[in-house]
């Protein structure tokens, strides 16, 4: 008993000494109890590791140079787990390589959106006044438009390529991050430790990036996880419409598009990329939603 008590005291002391460690431990503990986080994280980990490992896994070439006529439209078997498509390519391998494209585009696009949103939102929220007026107005304007419509317009104008899709999604998705960041910065800048650091002579840039930003990060990370899910949906929709990733680069959206004419005789061409796409989007959504519940229980079920 005595041992137990001293252990508890030691733990309490340790917790008090390192607030960050405590909250990180706490977050992990609470996350494990949240079913959404567990399911979401599992899905995300499986898909990300399959995508990363695709080049070293013993799978067929996703874009073979030659067409093998005897391999065309084979149904799923031990040799081709997900069957083959109308050009005799292995669907399983293309689904995995497609995951690389989807995840790459989505994470880069969300990273750039996050950077734009953080810089603009932080500037607006921290300084207030005229910069806030201009930036908040711009954020609201972009926020009004469905990001898919904006991304479609930009992708159509820039022409189809991987870089342009990333660019198009970044330009159309940042407003959400900007809005969130601005709101957070507005409330954090009123806190006392900000005043304290200003009294100690810290410059604006230092206060913004060393003090305000770290205190606003949690909701941004949640939003980024949901954002990756949205970006994957947008990327695959653009590829489906022919303005995204271009063949022969494997992409889920384009695979689904090519699957439509073969729905009757070879439903596996569309089905497997579709299921993978659904599970990936679901995984990132669950992770984001669950993380939000863990980090801020008051916001439970608030998303729309």
């Amino acid at each position: 008993m005595k041992f137990r008590k001293s252990l508890n005291d030691a733990l309490a002391g340790w917790r008090m000494s390192g607030g960050v460690k405590q909250s990180a431990m706490d977050i992990i503990n609470r996350s494990q109890r949240n079913a959404m986080v567990v399911v979401g994280a599992t899905l995300v980990i499986i898909i990300v590791s399959l995508a990363v490992l695709a080049p070293v896994l013993p799978i067929a070439d996703p874009t073979p140079a030659e067409l093998h006529e005897e391999e065309i439209l084979l149904s799923p078997s031990g040799r081709h787990w997900f069957g083959t498509d109308e050009l005799g390519r292995d669907v399983f391998s293309r689904v995995l390589w497609g995951a690389r494209v989807s995840l790459l585009v989505a994470t880069l696009a969300i990273f750039f959106s996050l950077v734009i949103g953080v810089v603009l939102g932080l500037t607006a929220g921290y300084f207030g006044g005229i910069p806030d007026y201009i930036i908040a107005g711009t954020i609201d304007l972009f926020w009004t438009f469905p990001s898919f419509l904006l991304a479609l317009a930009f992708a159509a104008a820039l022409g189809p390529s991987l870089t342009n899709v990333i660019l198009a999604i970044s330009i159309s998705y940042w407003a959400g991050f900007g809005r969130l960041m601005r709101g957070q910065a507005l409330s954090v800048r009123e806190r006392q430790f900000i005043e304290a650091s200003r009294a100690l002579g810290a410059k604006n840039a230092r206060i913004m990036f060393a003090h305000v930003l770290p205190n606003c990060l949690a909701p941004m990370i949640v939003w980024a996880s949901v954002g990756v899910a949205d970006a994957i949906t947008i990327e695959s929709s653009l590829s489906f419409l022919g303005v995204g990733t271009q063949p022969p680069t494997p992409s889920w959206g384009y695979m689904l598009y090519r699957g439509i004419p073969n729905l009757e005789e070879a439903p596996w061409i569309a089905t497997f990329p579709g299921i993978t796409l659904l599970l990936t989007v679901l995984g990132f959504n669950l992770l984001g939603d669950g993380m939000r519940d863990v980090l801020d229980p008051r916001m439970k079920g608030m998303r729309r």
Binding site: G159, S237, F240
Partner: protein
């Protein structure tokens, strides 16, 4: 009433910059397009001097702002330009749009109807059965339906209802009313997931209110409490987002129309992108953006009608 009118006027004024942004983006589209538009229009044997003459004549050498201003002038007179695609060469874009618009409106109207007639009852049911297995399955359904990209849902429905069972026609408009059902269902189901979640949380919120407890203590039958008193208040937040749903439907319509070859504005946009018919793409995007603006306006107005406090803000 006066405060409502001034509120609506304020919201109308706020919509103006949004419309300007739309025109600006649409204008920027042409500017960003790689390649020289003049070289594309001009015949192959045109000399450099000819190209320069065309550029001068059509104002391609003018500064950006001047070109944008001319574009706005043209738009304000209702001129959306003419198509440059082979099949519809020199047809007015406004004519093409007028042909397609009713199809998209039809699709959105039926889609919205489907979305609400699934979402509202399901949300209420789920809230009444809170924390049971039925509730949990409904929530899982909404999570999956929300994560499902609309084109993939469309393909699945197509397989289930057209390819294997032949209940509904697969694509196009030849099947009469039946042919709108598949695209509308696809469009409606994704949104139904959102409606269900909103309806559920709104109903749960209302159920906790004091006046419900008071009604219960007066001995009113549960059925009457729920459907006569609780539902009315719980419906408000769900109804007010109908405007935002319109915005959501605009993006969805582009994809769904393409999946089902439904001849609306959305399909016009994708087919025009593939034929590099930029005046038509611009016109379509403007019209769709206009829908979004109207949708947001409807949302604001409904919100103010439902909650008078908003009007003063």
């Amino acid at each position: 009433m006066a405060d409502l009118v001034s509120y609506i006027i304020r919201k109308l004024l706020l919509a103006i910059p949004v419309i300007f942004l739309a025109t600006f983006i649409v204008f920027l589209m042409l500017y960003l397009t790689p390649g020289d538009p003049v070289a594309m229009i001009a015949p192959a044997h045109a000399s450099a001097a000819d190209l320069e003459e065309i550029r001068e004549k059509y104002g391609f050498n003018d500064p950006f702002a001047v070109q944008y201003w001319r574009f706005l002038e043209r738009l304000s007179s209702g001129d959306l330009g003419t198509s440059v695609a082979i099949g519809t060469l020199n047809t007015d874009v406004s004519y093409l749009l007028a042909q397609r618009l009713p199809r998209t409106l039809e699709l959105m109207a039926i889609g919205l109807t489907i979305s609400y007639s699934i979402g509202i009852p399901l949300g209420v049911y789920s809230a009444l059965k809170q924390d049971t297995w039925t509730d949990r399955s409904v929530m899982v359904f909404t999570l999956v339906a929300y994560a499902m990209p609309s084109f993939w849902l469309g393909i699945l429905l197509m397989m289930a209802l057209a390819v294997y069972t032949h209940i509904l026609p697969i694509q196009g408009t030849v099947g009469g009313f039946g042919s709108i059902l598949l695209p509308a269902l696809t469009l409606g189901l994704g949104n139904a997931a959102l409606t269900t979640r909103m309806m559920r949380s709104s109903m749960l919120e209302v159920k906790r209110q004091d006046y419900i407890t008071q009604l219960r203590s007066r001995g009113l039958p549960e059925r009457e409490i729920i459907f006569k008193h609780a539902l009315r208040n719980a419906l408000l937040p769900v109804i007010t987002v109908i405007g935002l749903d319109i915005g959501w439907f605009v993006g969805g319509a582009v994809v769904v129309e393409t999946v089902f070859s439904w001849p609306g504005v959305g399909m016009l946009v994708t087919s025009s992108i593939s034929t590099h018919d930029f005046p038509t793409v611009q016109g379509c995007i403007l019209v769709l953006a206009f829908f979004v603006v109207i949708g947001n306006l409807v949302a604001d107005i409904l919100y103010a009608l439902a909650d008078p406090r908003v009007r003063l803000g």
